[in-house]
């Protein structure tokens, strides 16, 4: 009986693990984890005795192993994760007939503004949407873990600043905010005859990555 006060001594990884066993451990860890596992987490499985390139190779092999199945291994913002392939959805939906809630346009627009303009205050969102943003809307997004309060703008009232989370990205299968669909260029929303103007406005936008933030002194 080893004392509970002393962690059991485990043999060095390379004493006991060949590549196949290593992959098996990786696979198991990824199969049990709901959250994506970043490389540094995966390395912990082997007491950090695996280097990144070996790890990446093994993960690629795992990805290929699962190529022809109902689940796939993907990299998202938070790391590596298994999830189901779209073609499985019709079958799986039969198991859970209750559909996940669909978000209202108000929620989606609020989320979009936060995603593209972050960090923003509720006032910023209201400015763009032209209507008040109710607390339940923000709470819905916070409860989903997609946005969180990251601070306060240093203006009277110190309004809360919201930003999207890593979970937002990984839940949408994205690795970074840059992978969000690009915003429709303002110019293309305008008729052709206004093309020149539109392009100007476009250039203005490009030269100033976040021009709209200037609305918020």
């Amino acid at each position: 009986m080893s004392s509970p006060l002393k962690p059991a001594q485990l043999p060095s990884v390379f004493d006991s693990l060949n590549p196949e066993k290593t992959k098996r451990v990786l696979e198991t860890a990824l199969l049990i984890s709901q959250d994506p596992l970043p490389l540094n987490e995966l390395k912990k499985l082997f007491n950090n005795e695996l280097n990144t390139s070996i790890l990446n190779n093994l993960l690629e092999e795992l990805r290929e192993k699962w190529a022809d199945s109902g689940i796939e291994l993907v990299t998202v913002a938070g790391g590596w994760r298994f999830h189901t392939r779209p073609e499985m959805l019709p079958f799986l939906n039969r198991l859970n007939p209750q559909k996940p809630p669909r978000y209202s346009r108000a929620v989606l627009e609020t989320l979009t503004i936060i995603a593209y303009r972050q960090p923003v205050t509720r006032g910023d969102i209201e400015e763009i949407r032209g209507v008040t943003v109710s607390s339940p809307i923000l709470k819905t997004l916070e409860a989903r873990g997609w946005i969180d309060a990251i601070g306060h703008r240093n203006v009277p009232g110190r309004p809360t600043l919201y930003a999207t989370t890593v979970k937002f990205l990984s839940d949408l299968n994205l690795r970074s905010l840059e992978e969000l669909p690009p915003l429709e260029e303002l110019g293309s929303l305008v008729e052709t005859q206004e093309k020149n103007e539109a392009q100007e406005s476009n250039e203005a936008q490009e030269s100033n990555e976040t021009p709209l933030i200037t609305l918020v002194p």
Binding site: I32, I71, R105, V131, P181
Partner: protein, 269 residues
């Protein structure tokens, strides 16, 4: 209410940017009983304006303010009847539209500056910005969403044992004791010695033994294999128990058998 809408319908839509518009698309008509649907349909004044502009193919960069304002007000009137609170934002926009319209009617001042600011510019900017977000929201919604479009793989972790109970290290006890002593500024340290501890340990031991045995002969507490120190400690423990009236030590006759009984037993019988 229908009068208002009728008046809109009958209004000659006439010309927009010089082009005649034959009729207002019938989806401008909002039946009163569909008000809730209407409210759900539009996210706010900007959304409604965008709808009107896009539906009627108005030039967003050259908005016919009179036309837009008239159509917009027809909707807002519909809403005012029931949903005054919500209409507030819409009413604010009405005021803005009228203001822009009137500023456009003002005679243009002598050209002082080359860049004359169009009174509609700010509204157009807001409309375009909102439309940009609106479209982005649609596309965002089309991205695969966890739970809606795919599920996470989540295999059960089989653990042999349940949650491990908390570990307690001897240092934890030591630290707890230090805390207690430094907190309680009382004279009870004299009981805090090793000697006392072993006595008290034996007190527990004796009491536990008595719990299962009604009366124990005094000598039975002293094992023949016990060394002197142990005998002393056991004896002290018995005396201490007697002092704390935890046990009763009885002797029925002189030089007779001495019995140790737990007090509770004697008390209940």
């Amino acid at each position: 209410m229908t009068q208002v809408i009728d008046s809109v319908d009958k209004d000659p839509v006439a010309k927009i940017c010089g082009e005649p518009l034959m009729e207002i698309p019938h989806d401008l008509y909002i039946p009163p009983d569909a008000l809730e649907v209407f409210l759900d349909t539009f996210q706010g004044p900007l959304d409604l304006l965008l709808y009107l502009i896009r539906k009627h193919n108005l030039e967003i960069r050259d908005i016919p303010m009179a036309e837009l304002t008239r159509q917009y007000m027809a909707y807002v009137e519909t809403m005012r009847v029931d949903q005054l609170e919500l209409a507030a934002e819409y009413l604010l926009m009405t005021a803005l539209l009228i203001e822009i319209k009137s500023r456009m009617l003002l005679p243009k001042p002598a050209k002082n500056t080359e860049e004359e600011i169009d009174p509609r510019a700010e509204l157009v900017r807001r409309l375009l910005e909102y439309e940009q977000i609106k479209l982005a929201a649609l596309r965002l919604n089309e991205l695969p969403h966890a739970e809606r479009d795919f599920s996470f793989v989540q295999v059960w972790i089989e653990k042999k044992t349940d949650q491990e109970p908390p570990h307690v290290h001897l240092d934890d006890l030591r630290n707890a004791w230090i805390t207690l002593i430094s907190r309680a500024n009382v004279n009870r340290h004299h009981q805090v010695t090793r000697e006392t501890l072993s006595v008290r340990a034996h007190m527990s031991h004796i009491l536990r033994y008595l719990r299962d045995n009604e009366a124990v002969e005094f000598y039975d507490f002293f094992s023949p294999s016990a060394n002197v120190a142990e005998v002393i400690v056991i004896f002290l423990a018995l005396l201490e128990l007697a002092k704390e009236t935890l046990v009763e030590i009885t002797q029925s006759k002189v030089f007779g058998m001495i019995y140790v009984k737990p007090i509770e037993t004697s008390a209940t019988t």
